[in-house]
């Protein structure tokens, strides 16, 4: 299959924002050795090259249909991108902070994820606009700027300011069953469509309601995945003599 490379390389070098870049060690499966590569995450594409200044791109990984998993068996700061039934890319970070930062960025990189997020926000936007009717009491205080948000001693650039909400905060308990399942190993048939990413309910549902629920759960999934990471890191530090926790 021809992947029109010029389009990709142009996109990489154009002025749209880079979502994350930095060094990671990538495992070469054939030789079972790790090589340091410069990675650039842009949209749902993970580009890599030997060094940042290199004009020659070594490769790109399209981040659709993959999950981000810890791979402690591979090393302290190791993780993988797992395409169920297909390839697994293995990486190793320099330290815990780099590891967590990359995992977080990769977890929310896919087009599918952005699409869900967008649908959800669109609904929220419409609701917010409706509530902002004449004489409405849910008026938000004016925000004159954005300030950086500092969390756990690490600073992030240009975070959104989080004012105390002026209206009542919405707490909605979702009692519907979990709609986003972890993918099981699938064998991709050659003569038919590949199995769907996750088990989406597709037929006979109200898109707006269901996507809101789906996205809640996806969002929880992302949160849970990150919490798992943090917990596994802490647990590992506390119990270094015991067996490694297998989260895969």
């Amino acid at each position: 299959m021809k992947l029109h490379e010029k389009i990709l390389t142009h996109y990489l070098s154009c002025t749209s924002p880079v979502d994350k870049e930095g060094y990671l060690y990538k495992k070469k499966e054939r030789t079972a050795t790790y090589h340091r590569r410069w990675f650039v995450l842009k949209a749902n594409l993970l580009f890599y090259q030997e060094r940042p200044a290199d004009r020659h791109l070594l490769g790109v990984i399209v981040l659709e249909g993959c999950s981000v998993r810890p791979s402690e068996s591979e090393g302290q700061f190791a993780f993988s991108l797992v395409f169920e039934g297909l390839k697994t890319y293995r990486f190793s970070a320099g330290d815990r902070q780099i590891l967590e930062s990359w995992v977080k960025a990769l977890l929310s990189a896919s087009h599918c994820y952005l699409s869900l997020l967008l649908r959800d926000l669109r609904v929220q936007y419409e609701e917010a606009k409706q509530q902002q009717g004449p004489g409405d009491s849910h008026r938000s205080s004016s925000v004159s700027g954005l300030r950086a948000e500092v969390r756990e001693g690490r600073s992030f650039s240009a975070g959104m300011v989080l004012n105390a909400p002026s209206g009542p905060s919405k707490v909605v308990t979702k009692k519907s069953p979990k709609l986003w399942h972890r993918r099981n190993a699938h064998v991709t048939p050659l003569n038919g469509p590949a199995p769907l990413y996750g088990e989406w309910p597709l037929v006979g549902f109200d898109p707006l309601e269901e996507f809101s629920k789906l996205h809640d759960y996806y969002g929880q999934e992302v949160k849970r995945a990150r919490e798992e990471w943090l917990r596994s890191r802490q647990a590992k530090e506390e119990r270094s003599e015991e067996d490694l926790i297998d989260l895969g």
Partner: protein, 148 residues
């Protein structure tokens, strides 16, 4: 350049946003921000086009074009069966672009925050991701999202 070919081919078999026959009798499938094209009845696509940094234009009543802004500045022409179909394709391709979606997301985020005082991304724990920031050079535009 290496790329995850098998995984990309697997992606091409996913349910597509849009499918149809176009010029040269190719089966064209829009999946996420990729346009795959197949010889009809074949499982493996001939090729894949990343739909970023491109301009989609209506050429005439049945035809639209995708022009990529790279050095080659190649233009791909697609002829549809009907004017309606043509319009649908243009709409879908534009909206499939990750950059387009990102801009809309940033718009909604900012507006929701302005209207409610709450950052809607906070509940997902992604408020600080670089991807979702209002960054320099990224203008906050009112996009016509009524048809989204």
């Amino acid at each position: 350049m290496r790329f995850n070919e098998k995984e990309l081919m697997s992606l091409s078999r996913q349910p597509s946003e849009k499918k149809g026959d176009v010029v040269k009798k190719r089966l064209v499938k829009l999946v996420v921000n990729f346009l795959f094209y197949f010889r009809t009845d074949e499982e493996e696509p001939i090729g894949a086009l990343l739909l970023e940094q491109c301009r989609v234009e209506k050429e005439d009543s049945l035809t639209f074009s995708i022009a990529f802004l790279d050095e080659a500045e190649r233009k791909y022409l697609f002829e549809c069966d009907s004017e309606e179909q043509c319009g649908e394709w243009i709409d879908c391709i534009v909206k499939a672009s990750y950059e387009f979606m990102r801009k809309n997301l940033i718009f909604y985020r900012t507006e929701i925050h302005r209207l409610t005082g709450k950052d809607p991304l906070e509940q997902y724990g992604i408020s600080d991701e670089a991807r979702f920031q209002v960054s320099n050079g990224l203008q906050l535009m009112m996009r016509d999202t009524s048809s989204l």
